[in-house]
Every structure is written in structure tokens, then in C-alpha cells.
């Protein structure tokens, strides 16, 4: 311990050291938000969605209303080639000679001996022929996209061939490049089906004629195309809907409607709420009581009924799109939440010392409200706004879903879900794509709201 030095030293001391640079409330909030990875990613997603909505249609210039009849309900990333074929030539079918007076009724109708495909199976037509059944008065043709074995599920009856001499059928009904199972069943004179059936499995290829290809702008001149060539059809990155419309383009235009309602309506009712709530909170007393009781009643009003009334007021008929009635209904009935919150904040801030101090220094009411009260409620308001967006998007989707909001053909995410639901079992992508967009948007706004709440107000911080 000999090296210890007991020479007194003067330690430089500052009474109150300010070690960190002073940050404004918003700078500090921004730093906190940046530190929250989930919120930051959500912010990027929100920005990306806005870019997608605003600039998407300039990049992806497909008309959302144009129908691509070659590709109906095409899933995303489907094989999009078509084989060039000659022009369509009508088919007379296959007939057999029956004994005069028709074949005699048989005790039991058997299944046709064989069902065969005549010529190539193409998306424009599948030609079937089968062996005649003894005693059959007519035939019924079924089509299924699943194998009928082992359940005997034949699918949809697509045609009745009422002439027993006619043992063929040409299917031109909405064919897709899939594998189909055609089943043929014989029927007696009374129209009773035999329980026996014969199934043929048919792989259909997509075809296009040279003339069609030129008309659709897929090829320069018809001469260059030879039958048998393959051709690339129009691209649909997210597939098409049941009318052959491009889903990506529809999602972009739908986003304009959904996000417009989802963002503008909350803005409007939050502003209304701020005005109402700060008036109640600032004036106080009887006036405040009266205003808040009225707000309680408005909360209890049935939303759907007012939706309907507004649609009639706006002259929107059943089955038509009513974006504005929807927005007006949301604004008129959704403000009380924000109003209550702002009022609570104002009441609290009114009692704070710095308001009294400001008043002592001669601040006028307007100044107090604008300089102290509104800025100090901004955090709460911003958080409310962020959480209001997902609920507005949900409301739009719900209303469009039940046919009270945006109606076809106008795309919105909700109306697209409504349409997609109908074909959910066969082509789920038509439902999944708009539903995913709704979910991602709602998720991003929810997480952003969480992040903002944590960043803006330590007292409101959630325990997560």
C-alpha cells in the first residue's frame, strides 16, 4: 500500500449535469419508435401500401375491368402458355344406327362400354363419344374436377343428350386447362338414371387461334403463327378472378377505395371528436355534462340502420356502390370515442401546474388551447387515429361483404372478398389475396399503433 497517494484533489463537479442532448417530445418519440423493430417494420409496410396504391397503377397498367376470358380464375403463377390451333370447325357428333322404333327397353341399364375423347381435348371444346347402352332412352353427362372414385361423386350434370342415337357430347362450357373427369350415365324413357356410370379422365390443354392471338395483341401478325406453336398469354402475377379480371390490378384499385375510406374517415371523425371533446372539456360544467350524455346516446345508435338511411338519402340503390354514405355514416357515428378521450385529456391538463403558470403570465384562452392543450393531447390523438384505421378498414370490408358498401364491379378489398368467397372451394386465391391485403394492412396499423403508444406516452405503455 506504499504507493497510495493521499494528496487531496479537487474534483470538478457540476451540480446538475445534463449528460444527454435535449430532445423535443417528438424527437424523443421518433427515437423510441425507431428502436421498436416491429413498429418500424409496420411503418415501412404502411408506406409500401400507400406507394402500391398511389403509384401501383402507373407501373402495372392492366385495366382492372378488362376480362381475360382465356384465363378465368387462374391461380397466381399458373402456366400461361397456349397452343395455337386452327379456327374452330363445328362438330356433328357421333351417331349410331338404332333399330327402327328405338331400342327395346332393357331390364337394367348398364354403364356405357367406353367413353372416349374425340380429337384433342382443348379449352375451347372437349368432344366425347361413348358406346351405346342397350335400352337407353337418353344419356346424362357429368363433369367433375375430382376423381369420382371411390365415393361416386360425379360432379355437376352438364348436359342431357335426349336422342338415344346420339352417343356424343361436345363440352364448350367454361373449360380450364385442368384434368376433368367426365361420367356418362344412361337414362330410361322416364328420365330415371341408371346407377351405373362410366368415367373418362381428360387432360385439357389451353388453345388459342391465330386470329384471337392477333386480336388480343399477343402476336404481331397471324401469318407468323403456325398450329402447334406455343404462345405466352397475358401475365397475371396474382391470378385472375371468376370473370378473368387481373387480381393485382383490382387489388391496386381496390386499395384506393379501401384505404381512402380507411384513412379519410378516421381523420374526419377524429377531428370532429377533437373539436367536440375539447369544447366539452374546456367549457366544463353543465355544458360538458350535456355534450357527453349526447355522445353516450350516439354510441348506442345502430350503425347499419344509419348506413341504410344515408344510402337512400344519397340516392344509392340496392346493389350499387355507396362509398360516400359509408364514410358519412362512419364519421357521424364514430366520433364519440375520440371526443371522450380528448375531453379526458383536456380535463386532466387543465389542472396541471403549467396551465396555471401560463394563465398567471397572462395567456389568453386561445393561446392556452393552441399552445398547451392541443399539443399535449396530440400523442393520444395520433394513437387513436392509428387504431381507428384498422377498424375503419374492417367496417368497409364488413359492409361491402353484406352488400351495403362497395358493390361490384367497383373493386374494394371487402367487395373482392365477397366475390372471392363464392369460389372459395375451387379457387381459394380469389379470397386469399384481398383477405391477405386487409389483414396485412390491419396488422401493420395495429402494430404501428402499439409502437406509437409506447413511444409517445410512457404512462400508456403496454406491458408487452
Amino acid at each position: 500500500m506504499a504507493e497510495l497517494s493521499f494528496e487531496p484533489v479537487r474534483v470538478e463537479r457540476e451540480v446538475e449535469t445534463i449528460s444527454r442532448p435535449s430532445l423535443s417530445y417528438w424527437q424523443d418519440a421518433w427515437l423510441r419508435l425507431k428502436a421498436n423493430r416491429r413498429a418500424l417494420i409496420s411503418l415501412y409496410i404502411v408506406i409500401a401500401l400507400l406507394l402500391f396504391t398511389v403509384f401501383g397503377p402507373f407501373v402495372w397498367t392492366v385495366d382492372p375491368a378488362a376480362q381475360d376470358l382465356d384465363q378465368i380464375s387462374a391461380p397466381p403463377g399458373a402456366d400461361r402458355t397456349a397452343t395455337v390451333v386452327d379456327d374452330y370447325v363445328p362438330w356433328r357428333g357421333v351417331t349410331v344406327e338404332l333399330p327402327a322404333g328405338g331400342s327395346p327397353p332393357a331390364a337394367e341399364l348398364l354403364a356405357p362400354g367406353a367413353v372416349s375423347v374425340q380429337g384433342p381435348a382443348e379449352t375451347r371444346a372437349v368432344r366425347l363419344a361413348w358406346d351405346p347402352v342397350n335400352g337407353a332412352a337418353a344419356y346424362r353427362v357429368y363433369r367433375n374436377i375430382l376423381d369420382p372414385e371411390p365415393d361416386g361423386a360425379l360432379g355437376l350434370p352438364i348436359a342431357d343428350v335426349l336422342d338415344p342415337a346420339q352417343v356424343s357430347f361436345e363440352d364448350r362450357l367454361d373449360l380450364k386447362p385442368l384434368t376433368y373427369f367426365y361420367s356418362v350415365v344412361a337414362m330410361d324413357a322416364l328420365g330415371n338414371e341408371s346407377s351405373a356410370y362410366r368415367t373418362a379422365q381428360v387432360d385439357v390443354t389451353r388453345v388459342i387461334t391465330a386470329a384471337e392471338a392477333v386480336a388480343k395483341g399477343l402476336a404481331e401478325g397471324g401469318d407468323a403463327l403456325q398450329p402447334g406453336d406455343t404462345l405466352k398469354l397475358a401475365a397475371h402475377p396474382l391470378g385472375t378472378d371468376y370473370l378473368g379480371r387481373d387480381l393485382l390490378a383490382r387489388l391496386m384499385y381496390g386499395a384506393r377505395v379501401s384505404l381512402f375510406i380507411g384513412i379519410v374517415a378516421p381523420f374526419a371523425f377524429v377531428i370532429l371528436g377533437i373539436v367536440y371533446g375539447s369544447a366539452a372539456g374546456f367549457v366544463g360544467g353543465r355544458f360538458d355534462q350535456l355534450l357527453m350524455r349526447f355522445a353516450d346516446f350516439v354510441v348506442a345508435l345502430p350503425f347499419l340502420l344509419f348506413m341504410i338511411l344515408l344510402r337512400i338519402l344519397f340516392g344509392v340503390g340496392a346493389g350499387e356502390s355507396g362509398i360516400y354514405p359509408m364514410m358519412v355514416a362512419m364519421v357521424l357515428l364514430s366520433w364519440p370515442g375520440a371526443a371522450r378521450l380528448v375531453r379526458g385529456q383536456i380535463l386532466q391538463i387543465r389542472e396541471e401546474g403549467y396551465i396555471g403558470a401560463s394563465r398567471l403570465l397572462g395567456a389568453k384562452t386561445n393561446y392556452l388551447v393552441l399552445r398547451h392543450m392541443i399539443p399535449n393531447t396530440m400523442g393520444v390523438i395520433l394513437v387513436t387515429l392509428t387504431f381507428a384505421v384498422p377498424s375503419a378498414i374492417f367496417t368497409e370490408a364488413f359492409l361491402s361483404f353484406i352488400g351495403m358498401g362497395v358493390a361490384p364491379p367497383t373493386p374494394s378489398w371487402g367487395s373482392m372478398c365477397n366475390e372471392g368467397l363464392k369460389t372459395m372451394l375451387t379457387t381459394p386465391h380469389e379470397l386469399i389475396a384481398p383477405a391477405a391485403f386487409i389483414s396485412i394492412t390491419v396488422l401493420a396499423f395495429n402494430l404501428l399503433g402499439d409502437g406509437l403508444r409506447d413511444a409517445l406516452d410512457a404512462r400508456m405503455r403496454s406491458a408487452e
Binding site: L305, C417, M424, L425, A435, S439, L447
Partner: protein, 310 residues
């Protein structure tokens, strides 16, 4: 408590009156004729219809009659199905909706409390992370997507089993009820799980839990008697608004699963602009929700001594 109950009930009655009045005058403020159908109606039939629905009288008189009828519990006759009374429609279909809704809210509440408690117990470990992820998914997916996915799931389950375990649509047996009520409760369950989780974590850090531990109580007892009991309280307070959410969600689920409930009937009436049905059901639903919120508040009062003894 009694004075509080009476006060709340009185407020509820006033709110219902407000809804009924707003509904009535809202309907009458709208230009146009509710009886004007798509096709032309001969003037004498039109006059008959006007008289039948009381539309020929002056509006204030109609209002008095309307309120009087409502007090008697009479909501009038349907415009589109002219032989049916709105009361009958409500009586017949509300049973179904109420069953569905009660099952859904029970499922949501128990699920929410259970999952929320689990996440808090396994904080930042695998079960917590998985459940929190599912919860975020749950609050971000619209109810009709759940309904559609639920139905798709039913189809797949039945296909896989080779027999019909759950019917795809319809109503009647217990099997009919299971999937729709679960689908309906899912969104609310996610919301309640989230609430329960943050409530549990907040309570876990509270002073009285520290006190309980300092008394040397076994961990299970601290959890059960101190943490869980207090963490459930905020969940109970939001059950009222949750019932409203479930009611609205019920409209969609009833449509998707073809359940003959009042919600589906209401949506149909909305699409067909059947005014008496819309008005009747609206006031009925309004009153139902107002009194459910009051009921939940009163039940909360029973659980929380701080409210009970006020």
C-alpha cells in the same frame, strides 16, 4: 348497489327511447316512399297499403302510435312478407342467434382467459411467442375470412374422415353449432387474450403480488388467488362491448353457414329494404345491446368489491 342498478336501468330505458326515436324520424326524414316497389302499383292498392301500415296519418300521430306499439312489444308487420309480424320473426330467429352468440362469447371468454394466462406464465418462451403470434393474426383477420376458412376446414375434415363430422351449413344439432360459434368467437378471443396477457403481466409486477410472495405462499396459490383473480377484472369490463362485436360478426357467420338466425334475416331485410323489419330489429338489437352492457357492468360490480360497495 340497488340505487346504482336502478340508475343504470333508467339510463338504459332512456337510451332505448332515443334509439327508437332516432330510428323513427330517420326513416321518415328519408325522401321517397318505402312502399314504392320496383313495379307500378295501382293507386287503390297503394292507398290500402298506406292505411294498412298507418302511413296515411300525420307523422306525429304515427310517432305516438309507434311508441305505443313498441311499449306493447309490437313492431308491426313485414313489408315484404306481408303475413308475418316482426315480433314473430324476432321470436323465431333470435333464439338461434342468441344460442350462437352465447356459445361464441363463452368460447371467447374462456379461451381468452386461458390463453392470456398461459402467455403470461410462459412469458417470452415458446408458448407465449406462438400464442402472441396467433393473437396478432386473430385481430387482423376479418370475421368473414374466419367464417370462410372455418367452412373450408369443415369440408376438409369431413373429406378426410369420410363422414360428416360437422355439417357445412344449417342449424339444429350440436354438431351444427360447434364450428360457427368457434369461428364467431375467434376474433374476440384474440382480443381478450391480448388484454388478459397485458393484464396478467401488469398484475405480476404489482406490489401486492410481491407481498403475497413475501408471505411465503406457494407459487400456485399466488397465481390462482392473487394474480388470476385480479387479472380477469379488466377482461370482464370489456365483455359488454365484446357482445356488440359478436352480434355484428354473427350477421356474417349466419350468412356464410346458412344459419336461420336474426342476423341473417336482418341482412336480408336490409338488402330488400324491408322497413318494418329493419326498424323492429334495429330497436330490438339496440335495446338488447344496451341492456347487455348494463348487465355486464352489474356483474362486474359483483366481482369487484370496489364497485360493489360504492
Amino acid at each position: 348497489m340497488l340505487a346504482y342498478t336502478i340508475k343504470r336501468l333508467l339510463q338504459g330505458v332512456i337510451t332505448v327511447w332515443f334509439i327508437a326515436t332516432a330510428t323513427f324520424f330517420g326513416m321518415h326524414a328519408v325522401p321517397g316512399d318505402p312502399l314504392a316497389a320496383d313495379k307500378e302499383v295501382p293507386p287503390e292498392i297503394w292507398a290500402n297499403l298506406q292505411a294498412r301500415y298507418g302511413l296515411d296519418k300525420p307523422v306525429p300521430e304515427q310517432y305516438v302510435i309507434y311508441l305505443g306499439n313498441m311499449l306493447k312489444g309490437d313492431f308491426g308487420i313485414s313489408y315484404t312478407q306481408q303475413n308475418r309480424e316482426v315480433n314473430d320473426i324476432i321470436a323465431e330467429h333470435f333464439k338461434v342467434s342468441a344460442t350462437l352468440g352465447i356459445l361464441a362469447i363463452v368460447f371467447a371468454a374462456f379461451g381468452g382467459i386461458l390463453w392470456g394466462a398461459l402467455t403470461a406464465l410462459y412469458r417470452n418462451r415458446a408458448p407465449d411467442i406462438v400464442i402472441v403470434f396467433l393473437v396478432i393474426l386473430g385481430i387482423s383477420v376479418p370475421s368473414f375470412v374466419f367464417a370462410a376458412l372455418g367452412q373450408l376446414g369443415v369440408v376438409n375434415i369431413n373429406n378426410a374422415l369420410g363422414f360428416t363430422l360437422f355439417p357445412v351449413a344449417g342449424w339444429g344439432t350440436v354438431q351444427h353449432m360447434i364450428v360457427p360459434s368457434m369461428v364467431l368467437g375467434l376474433g374476440t378471443m384474440a382480443f381478450l387474450t391480448r388484454l388478459m396477457r397485458s393484464s396478467m403481466l401488469e398484475i405480476a409486477n404489482s406490489d401486492f403480488i410481491r407481498t403475497a410472495r413475501s408471505k411465503g405462499l406457494p407459487a400456485t396459490r399466488v397465481f390462482r388467488k392473487h394474480q388470476l383473480r385480479n387479472a380477469i377484472l379488466p377482461v370482464v369490463t370489456v365483455l359488454g362491448p365484446s357482445i356488440a362485436a359478436i352480434t355484428t360478426g354473427g350477421f356474417v357467420v349466419e350468412m356464410v353457414f346458412a344459419i336461420p338466425g336474426l342476423g341473417r334475416y336482418f341482412v336480408q331485410a336490409v338488402q330488400q329494404l324491408d322497413y318494418t323489419v329493419i326498424m323492429g330489429t334495429t330497436v330490438f338489437y339496440g335495446a338488447f345491446l344496451v341492456f347487455m352492457v348494463i348487465l355486464v357492468d352489474l356483474v362486474y360490480g359483483l366481482i369487484d368489491p370496489r364497485v360493489r360497495l360504492e
